[in-house]
């Protein structure tokens, strides 16, 4: 049976993992490669590296990281953050990433979804959607890391990205992100049920219960979490064992 995926997310700035990572067993706590290897060994199903570097030599720094991660980690990994052009997609994939995550550029230039999925296969094109609930009870799409509001409806946009050739959706609830009070289940469920491509739930996971809810009520195919894994509050193995006991198919290494 297909396992539900548990995906740790790492924010990377200038080639270093940020967000208060404090692994005890690692020599270099901020090294993306070491972090990736640690999660790989713990049984993570995939990894997502989100590059938040603002500097001008961003491109070289990120490609260097992608190369090293690809040499060390033998599970699939996604790279996102500031991917704007078909050429960005190509170089990241050529350097060893399995998937790229496109967010702002996908809204500004939807053709990038179609062109890159035609060129490289939809399996490696993940569209990230940052969504925030509005007063009417629907959700708006936000861009530029949540700083720019659009009038686009998140559910409609998700359906459109599927038609355009997205292989998967990374759905982040901005209302829940960083709160540790659980995924936006209603949003996750609505989008997951509207699509035939897989949906990764993100934003708000603070407990194993939240992961369970995301996968069951939220109908997500995978759950992404950052803080609960980084701070070693819960290990991936522990998460998977608890989920397994509650009837969720997971892969335990």
């Amino acid at each position: 049976m297909l396992a539900k995926r548990i995906i740790p997310c790492l924010d990377v700035d200038r080639g270093r993992v940020v967000k208060g990572v404090n692994f005890v067993n690692l020599i270099d706590a901020g090294d993306p490669v070491e972090n990736g290897k640690f999660y790989d060994e713990e049984g993570a199903d995939e990894l997502v590296f989100l590059d938040i570097t603002a500097s001008s030599d961003k491109r070289n720094i990120i490609l260097d990281m992608v190369k090293k991660v690809a040499e060390t980690v033998h599970i699939p990994f996604t790279v996102g953050g500031g991917i704007r052009t078909l050429d960005d997609v190509r170089t990241i994939l050529e350097n060893g990433a399995d998937k790229v995550s496109i967010n702002t550029a996908a809204v500004k230039n939807p053709a990038i979804i179609t062109e890159s999925s035609k060129r490289f296969g939809s399996q490696c094109i993940l569209v990230a959607i940052d969504a925030k609930r509005n007063s009417t009870g629907n959700w708006n799409v936000y861009l530029n890391g949540g700083r720019t509001k659009t009038d686009i409806d998140a559910v409609e946009w998700a359906k459109r990205t599927e038609e355009l050739g997205a292989g998967e959706i990374l759905l982040t609830s901005m209302d829940r992100d960083g709160t540790k009070c659980g995924y936006d289940i209603e949003l996750t469920k609505k989008i997951s049920e509207s699509l035939t491509i897989p949906v990764i739930a993100s934003g708000g996971a603070g407990t194993i219960e939240h992961l369970y809810e995301g996968l069951t009520e939220g109908k997500a195919d995978a759950v992404l979490a950052a803080s609960i894994f980084h701070f070693r509050e819960i290990s991936i193995r522990e998460v998977k064992e608890k989920l397994k006991n509650r009837g969720i198919p997971v892969r335990i290494v």
């Binding site: 690809a70 033998h74 599970i75 050529e94 399995d98 939809s122 491509i197 892969r251």
Partner: protein, 202 residues
């Protein structure tokens, strides 16, 4: 020398890196003449079936590749390199494949199940393949595909996965093995398949 075939279908780096864990004698080549100086071929690949066949044809791979496989050369196919072995695929209209294995590649159409079949799924193994030593049945491997093969001659099947329907995901005979999943992305047990392949060759 193990040659990884570069026919313009996706990223070969992860496969090469995985092979390099077990031998330094690996190279990437787009030139079919390199078959003569190869002890084994690996054909990875992602993307569309039709374009892959067009590329193989254009680059002159088809005949040398068929000769090589028919003479029981060591061959590892991965993902698209697994699907191309069949007679035909219905991806974007019916397209002819390499026809090493009689059977067709069809699109998943299971109500309620998402396409692509993406993620870690368990594989039921047929015991006693030299390439699958040390790998327990029901091990999880990483899949990402929208099409699956239906095979007439079941003697090819070394492993099956279940995604609404049961389908062959490892096939092999003699010195050939091919997997629908990505061994290079399937953690220790995936690497074990690559290690077994390399050990058999070298």
């Amino acid at each position: 020398m193990i040659t990884v075939i570069d026919y313009g279908m996706g990223n070969l780096r992860s496969v090469v890196k995985a092979v390099e864990k077990y031998t330094e004698h690996v190279r990437v080549s787009h030139d079919p003449l390199d078959i003569e100086r190869s002890d084994a071929l690996i054909m990875p690949g992602d993307g569309a079936f039709g374009m892959a066949m067009d590329n193989l044809k254009k680059m002159g791979w088809i005949e040398p590749l068929l000769d090589y496989i028919n003479n029981d050369g060591y061959f590892l196919g991965i993902c698209l390199g697994f699907q191309l072995l069949y007679s035909a695929s219905e991806e974007f209209g019916l397209r002819e494949g390499l026809n090493i294995i009689e059977g067709n590649v069809l699109r998943f159409k299971v109500p309620g199940l998402k396409v692509p079949h993406m993620g870690w799924n368990q594989v039921k193994l047929v015991p006693d393949s030299k390439f699958l030593e040390g790998i327990p049945s029901d091990t999880y491997f990483y899949f990402i595909h929208s099409y699956y093969p239906v095979i007439n001659d079941k003697s090819w099947v070394l492993g099956e996965a279940d995604y609404g329907i049961k389908f062959p995901c490892i096939v092999g005979k003699g010195n050939l093995i091919a997997t629908q999943f990505h061994p290079e992305k399937s953690h220790n047990m995936g690497l074990k398949i690559i290690e077994n392949f390399v050990r058999n060759v070298c």
